[in-house]
């Protein structure tokens, strides 16, 4: 079920590296031949993709982190980002 972003314990693919970009002052995901500049939420999501947490736990952690944010909105954002990364082969599990 490679296209179902709500299951599994996501982890960044070994070919991708999350780094802080000193020029843009934002996080950046770097992988062969390309890089994605990330907004703050996306960066926080990716930091939690450690292969230990389930997507559910990941959303819980973010909900605690972003006090006052709507859990459903966070969950949607997580699902969408993970699906996008998965199509590009940037996620495992």
């Amino acid at each position: 079920m490679a296209d179902d972003s709500t299951i599994g314990k996501p982890r960044l693919s070994p070919k991708a590296r999350l780094r802080w970009d000193n020029v843009e002052k934002r996080h950046m995901l770097v992988f062969p031949e390309a890089a994605l500049l990330l907004n703050e939420t996306a960066a926080e999501i990716l930091k939690l993709c450690d292969g230990e947490r389930t997507v559910e736990q990941l959303v819980d952690t973010l909900a605690q982190q972003f006090v006052g944010a709507d859990r459903k909105m966070i969950a949607d954002e997580v699902t969408e980002l993970l699906a996008r990364l998965r199509t590009r082969g940037l996620l495992e599990a």
Partner: protein, 367 residues
């Protein structure tokens, strides 16, 4: 004009190479350029590149594994937080040096293979290397490196795209580059011998497109076009000295591998000046930045902002003027040169000129 942010640095560490591929992108006169940049100068250059905004570092050549200081260069590149990729022919790799590179923080390996058939692969490489490359590809994966498999396509292997895709998947490659030969340097010398027919190209592209969908999410498949068959020029390097720089083994900072072929441009070297000064002020890098240099039909063309007039090197090589429209463009007054080259390649059967020191000296001595 203000220099843009560079994202990619290709560091050609050496022109030395055990292979003799007749499509090599190194300059034909490489044999005359033997004084290589020192370890310290490369490290300083990597630090400056990172400060300028470079994210991707490709350690290339020649064969970069020949450099004894490669582990030190990898370690320093990682200290600068550069995503560090080794572009290699693979024949000098073994468990020991691969482990060492991994310990130094190497992010990724790009391995070239010539074909899936032993005989053609060895013929094209000019040396027996097929079996060694197969062993090395498996070793790279065993040690846990992400792998890109790169295959330069030409008349002799383009019909093997299905086998090449299967081979890459079998190796566990994350990315496969099916890169049609671009006709510069050694490849230009061998153009008539290497160019496939348009029918061969069309079939290969269709197979690659179908496979791209099939492998989505597991293996990325890139297909680099034969620009001679296109009606529009490629957006070469994403524009001259915009996001990409290439540094030669002797330290010259170029906007691409081939640019030294353009006469009248003085490329500055990191052996004499800082990379920052060169990137911002080099007259050669500023020569074709922006659009002020463009002639007709580029100047009034709506596509000039996306294709940048095509390739400056190709404009010089095929039209004799680096500021002309790339002759690949059907609007170029020199477009017939490209059509003639395609037609000639279909008829001529000429022997390969291998990329080696002897041929380099011979070709450099031409009037």
């Amino acid at each position: 004009m203000a220099a843009p942010r560079p994202y990619t640095l290709v560091a050609e560490l050496t022109y030395r190479c055990p292979l003799q591929c007749p499509y090599c992108s190194n300059p034909v006169n490489f044999q005359a350029m033997r004084e290589e940049v020192s370890t310290e100068q490369w490290c300083k250059t990597f630090s400056e590149a990172a400060d300028l905004g470079v994210v991707q570092l490709h350690l290339s050549g020649g064969e970069p594994v020949i450099r004894k200081d490669l582990p030190d260069l990898i370690r320093h590149a990682r200290q600068c937080d550069l995503y560090t990729n080794l572009i290699t022919g693979g024949t000098l790799l073994n468990t020991e040096n691969l482990q060492q590179f991994r310990d130094c923080g190497l992010d990724h390996i790009q391995l070239s293979i010539q074909d899936t058939e032993r005989e053609t692969a060895n013929l094209v490489a000019g040396v027996r290397s097929y079996d060694k490359k197969l062993t090395v590809a498996r070793l790279i994966k065993q040690l846990g490196f992400p792998l890109t498999l790169n295959v330069v396509l030409h008349r002799f292997n383009i019909d093997h795209v299905p086998e090449l895709i299967a081979q890459a998947a079998d190796f566990g490659a994350q990315r496969l580059e099916l890169a049609n030969t671009q006709y510069y340097a050694w490849a230009l010398e061998n153009r008539s011998a290497l160019m496939p027919t348009q029918a061969q190209r069309d079939r290969a592209e269709e197979i690659a497109r179908e496979a791209r969908a099939r492998y989505r999410g597991t293996m990325e498949i890139a297909f680099v076009q034969v620009d001679y068959f296109s009606a529009e020029p490629k957006a070469c390097m994403g524009g001259w000295a915009r996001t990409y720089m290439c540094i030669t083994p002797t330290g010259e900072v170029l906007p691409c591998h081939a640019a030294q072929v353009i006469p009248g441009l003085q490329f500055d070297s990191v052996r004499h000046q800082s990379l920052t000064t060169i990137w911002q002020q080099s007259a050669a890098l500023n020569a074709f930045r922006g659009e002020a240099w463009m002639q007709e039909p580029c100047r009034s063309c709506p596509k000039k902002a996306s294709d940048f007039g095509g390739c400056r090197c190709q404009a010089f090589l095929l039209a004799g003027d680096a500021a002309a429209t790339d002759p690949v463009c059907r609007l170029s007054p020199h477009h017939e040169v490209v059509l003639a080259a395609v037609a000639a390649a279909e008829q001529e059967h000429v022997p390969l000129v291998y990329r080696n020191s002897k041929n380099s000296e011979k070709l450099s001595a031409r009037p």
